[in-house]
Amino acid sequence: MAIEHKKHVFRIFLLLGAVIVSALIVRILAVPATFGTYGHYRSANLPEQAAREVRHGGNDSCGKCHAGMKSLHDKGAHIAVPCEDCHDALAAHIKDGKKIADMPRVKSVTRLCGRCHRDLVARRDDFPKINIEKHVKDQGAELSDQVCFDCHNPHNPTP
């Protein structure tokens, strides 16, 4: 009788030990190294997030090469419109201080201007809104992709 008891107790503890050891192995393999340092997440992700590429440089970065254009822009009514809104992000043009490509040409200037100035009913009335088709006709011009620039300089527009 006594020997059989011993055997049963030994088996139970062996089984329990095996369960604990396998659970620990699974945990070590499944939980990433920096998990839980600051909370229930992998803190190594923080520097990974911070290391992503900054693609927009801001007007000052444009002014480093295009100083004349920037000073013209900064005197005009479009001063609040960042360069990269109408052109593209700096990273499409410059990499490590060197030009890698031309900025993409704006295909339809009329559409670009219309993004802000088309007379949509949802657009607030204290903002300069234009019925582009009517305005172009009133000026005796033909509606085309570049027509706005015939009269308006986008870098220093006069109303």
């Binding site: 006594a2 990433p32 992998r42 992700n45 997030q49 911070a50 927009h56 419109v81 990269e84």
Partner: protein, 258 residues
Amino acid sequence: MDNVSRREFIRKAAVASGGCAVFLLLGPGGTGNASHPAPEGASPLGDYDWEQHRYAYLIDAQKCIGCGMCVKACKAENKVPDDNFRTWIERYEISEDGEAEVDSPNGGLNGFEENVTHVKIAKAFFVPKMCNHCAAAPCVQVCPVGATYRTKDGVVLVDPKHCVGCGYCIQACPYAVRFLNPETHTADKCTLCYHRLTKGLKPACVGACPVGARQLADMKDQFDPVRKRIITERVAVLQPELLTEPQCFYLALDKEVR
């Protein structure tokens, strides 16, 4: 062990299982915090000290002209896949009898071209939408693997290396700001341009807005003018009844906007 009595057996078994429990609680099987304690005084982000900041966002819906430049800048800054949006613009056109027509063609990426309705419109406006970086974020609560979290400076992030792409967070978000990235097959959303914040730059959408409708606030900077507006003006949040504590505050929010 000769002729162990029943009482003796139960007593020994209780002691042994108690010992196992103590081992499980205190040993390497315990909480994550015990196994990887935070290094004393060290910041996880180098020179940037995340204890010194707590970000919030202010959207002045009255100012928005619906140009969609923020959507374009967000796409370019974060290489957001086509047909997915980390921020977008909604247009509301509300008729005199209260019927609301809402649209967001391609998220407002290319602006808005035509009016939607031709009935008599009583009021119409644009509303920018994005992640609210909720202080009690449902998306963080439901993530089964701890891949989405809120940083100490108040930004809700997704760890794409740890995310399993189950999509629970996408369903849990009441503001529908999350999507499954078709390239990485993980959850994706606005990071408040964390890569820019940690370098002292503003998010791309804030920088792109030509009318100042989108602004970033640092609630730990008592001289921050945007923080002052948030705490002194009459701001609203989206769906406050859900108690998610959104940190994206709106000025001039209409009741039709959810």
